[in-house]
């Protein structure tokens, strides 16, 4: 019998080295390999991210499952950190928010709490933030009162409310009563009930501008302002101020309040020089012409010989000069 292993086998085509020689690759083949490599790398990357994420989650859950537990089962709320640009304080915030006992941060409905804060007219804007693990941060922007308004609803006793520059009427909290006492009263406005409060008053930006100019540039005049009437604002664009000295001072909202205040100061200076001619009204709404009305009744009381006219014009110097008048 022959031995099979005696004769060696000839080489077959399967002995040919089939390793890919890059130089044997055509352009098409190289592009195909590049696309394949990119696809492979992309898929490998995605898989690696998935695996990494899974491992991370597993490790986190393994080391401290509470980290992934529901926040509602976390520690109770300990503190409210209030930040404000006004006078509202921590007590007011706690009282307004009325948070339930043992509430956790995640159990709080921040939107509802914000709505609750904004329901107070004094609060202009509010931002609530969860500061983990147990602090609720409340940042508030408050409205500044410009004037006061006396309100009486039905048979209830009248009460004073505050009015901001944007016309919002609100019940001021935590304000210094002395400060509030300096605010002039509003007159000639018609308050409209909206819900539990009142609709914003139109034209308050003009009032605020007048008062701000007066307070900043002529505080001695501002201190005398008692009542500002908006009765003629819509029709004539005029604000009528009653001061301690003059029953009626008319300002034009279309002109610069600073110039008008300068003229007023000038007129009052002139009037003080003539105490026998007490003024009843000053109309600053006509530019350089400032008609004044002299209180004839008072004048007759002061002087038996009433020969002066009941009304007149104070001569005013150059308007530029007045505008530069140093209060």
């Amino acid at each position: 019998m022959s031995k099979a292993t005696a004769t060696p086998f000839a080489r077959t085509w399967q002995d040919i080295n089939q390793s890919v020689n890059p130089r044997a690759m055509s352009k098409v083949s190289r592009q195909r390999r590049l696309v394949y490599t990119l696809k492979f790398a992309g898929i490998a990357g995605v898989l690696a991210i998935i695996v990494w994420g899974t491992v991370e989650i597993a490790e986190t859950m393994g080391s401290n499952p509470n980290k992934l537990g529901l926040a509602e089962s976390g520690p109770p709320l300990k503190d409210i950190a209030l930040t404000t640009d006004g006078v509202l304080d921590h007590t007011w915030a706690e009282r307004t928010l009325t948070l339930p006992k043992n509430a956790t941060l995640m159990s709080l409905d921040l939107y509802a709490l914000r709505t609750r804060l904004l329901a107070h007219g004094q609060v202009k804007a509010a931002v609530l933030t969860r500061n983990f693990p147990s602090t609720l941060a409340v940042a508030i922007q408050e409205r500044s009162p410009v004037a006061r308004v006396q309100v009486q609803v039905g048979d209830a006793s009248p009460r004073a409310l505050l009015v901001a520059r944007d016309g919002v009427v609100f019940d001021g909290k935590n304000y210094d009563p002395a400060l509030l006492g300096t605010l002039p009263w509003l007159d000639g406005v018609k308050l409209v009930h909206v819900g539990d409060g009142f609709a914003p008053i139109d034209g308050m930006d003009a009032v605020a501008d007048l008062l701000a100019t007066a307070r900043n540039q002529a505080e001695h005049l501002y201190r005398t302002f008692e009542v500002i009437s908006l009765a003629r604002l819509a029709s004539d664009g005029e604000l009528v101020v009653r001061s301690k000295d003059i029953p009626e001072i008319t300002f034009n909202t279309r002109d610069d309040f600073f110039r008008q205040l300068a003229r007023l100061d000038y007129v009052l200076d002139l009037a003080r020089a003539q105490p026998d001619k007490p003024l009843k009204s000053i109309d600053l709404a006509n530019g350089l012409q400032v008609p004044v009305t002299i209180d004839t009744v008072a004048r007759l009381q002061n002087s038996a010989s009433a020969s002066a006219p009941g009304a007149g014009l104070f001569p005013l110097p150059n308007s530029t000069h007045i505008a530069q008048r140093d209060f």
Partner: protein, 399 residues
């Protein structure tokens, strides 16, 4: 989970065109052809790669087109091999049955097969196929001698070998596409397996694949390939003959061949003329139809004569009752079956692809690539049905 689907590419790098078919083999037994790619061949002469870069570009373009058509990447490639360098020889071996009771064991068949395959080749040549013919047990043909009783077991192999450099060139063209060649299959075997039935192969049939640069043939007998060969003459030579004989350009000769070429002379009237272009434009000329037919028929006749000579004593008309089956692009030439019938002295017909193959792939030019897919399916089926040996049985087998 390992996918049950395999994407197989069947590649034929021909002299005139590169054909790629992509097949999806599901569960090892269902084949679907899902992609086709073709490109004009460059750098290939008579089935052998002569310009590696040009051949690679053409092949890779066809592969990419097939992959894009299939919408997937090819996992492995079944590559058709042809070329004039391929040769074959027969090698026989015989053993005495070892067992005392003369029952043939697996070891007997293994031994006789190894002996039959063990033959050294000249330097630089490499085996492409070992085709086993049926066993003979005490002279009688048996497909599987194991467990049969007999004294002497014979087997012969038809070994096909070729130049290692040319086979490697073919393989490296595919490797350049970053794909391995899983199986290298002779073109004639690939096309022959498709266009002939198992019964025809058992009775005896001669399959001839007339390509552009080569003509491949496989003679089947007793159900397996008895002899194969390659003639380095193909349809391209018909074109060349026309170009020289009629003094026209290659492209014009190709047009004349496709329009008026025949395998046998049919025209009788010498005055019967045909136009080169047909619209009497500049350069349009007329040629005698008879001359064209004589030129093409002569070359076809010569090709068949060469095939018959190469078959030698193995061929006899009475040994191939199923006749001659023709395929390949040149087989579309009218009258070629008559020529084959006359040369081989037996019936001849054009090969038909199985009915399940789509209309767009029924052209004879796809026969080889389809045959490659047929082989790939069989290979997968063999793998799927092969019995799995346990570790224990492997231990005993090696002991």
């Amino acid at each position: 989970m390992i996918s049950n689907t395999k994407i197989v590419g069947a590649v034929e790098i021909g002299t005139t065109k590169v054909t790629v078919l992509v097949g999806e083999i599901a569960r090892g037994r269902e084949l679907s052809i899902i992609g086709v790619g073709e490109a004009s061949s460059r750098g290939v002469i008579k089935g052998a790669v002569m310009d590696f870069k040009a051949a690679s570009e053409a092949t890779h373009n066809a592969l990419l087109a097939a992959e894009q058509s299939a919408g997937t990447r090819v996992d492995e490639v079944y590559l058709a091999q042809t070329g004039g360098h391929l040769e074959g020889f027969e090698n026989e071996a015989s053993v005495n049955v070892a067992a005392a009771d003369n029952t043939v064991s697996a070891m007997d068949t293994d031994t006789v097969c190894r002996l039959a395959m063990a033959k050294e080749l000249p330097e630089g040549r490499i085996v492409v196929h070992h085709i086993r013919r049926p066993f003979r047990l005490d002279g009688r043909l048996v497909p599987d001698p194991e467990h049969l009783v007999g004294r002497r077991l014979d087997v012969s192999y038809w070994t096909i070998h070729g130049l290692e450099s040319k086979v490697a060139d073919n393989t490296h063209v595919i490797n350049g596409f970053s794909v391995r060649v899983t199986k290298l299959i002779l073109s004639s075997l690939a096309s022959g397996a498709l266009i002939t039935t198992a019964e025809e192969r058992h009775n005896g049939v001669l399959a001839i694949d007339l390509g552009g640069g080569t003509t491949d043939f496989a003679l089947y007998r007793d159900g397996c390939a008895h002899k194969t060969g390659v003639v380095a003459v193909g349809g391209g030579h018909l074109t060349n003959d026309l170009a020289l004989g009629l003094r026209v350009q290659q492209g014009q000769a190709e047009t004349l061949k496709l329009r008026y070429g025949r395998g046998t002379v049919h025209a009788r009237d010498k005055k019967d003329k045909v136009m080169l272009i047909g619209d009497f434009s500049i350069g349009d000329r007329e040629f005698p139809r008879l001359t064209i037919e004589q030129i093409t028929a002569a070359r076809v006749w010569e090709i068949f004569e060469v095939v018959r000579q190469k078959l030698g004593a193995s061929f006899a008309p009475e040994k191939i009752p199923a006749g001659v089956v023709l395929t390949g692009g040149t087989a579309k030439l009218p009258g070629i079956t008559e020529a084959a019938a006359k040369v081989f002295g037996t019936s001849a017909r054009l090969g038909e692809v199985p009915a399940w193959i789509g209309e767009n792939l029924r052209d004879p030019g796809y026969a080889t690539a389809l045959g490659l897919l047929h082989f790939s399916l069989n290979a997968q089926t063999d793998r799927a049905t092969a019995p799995r040996r346990s570790l224990l049985s492997k231990l005993f087998a090696t002991a």
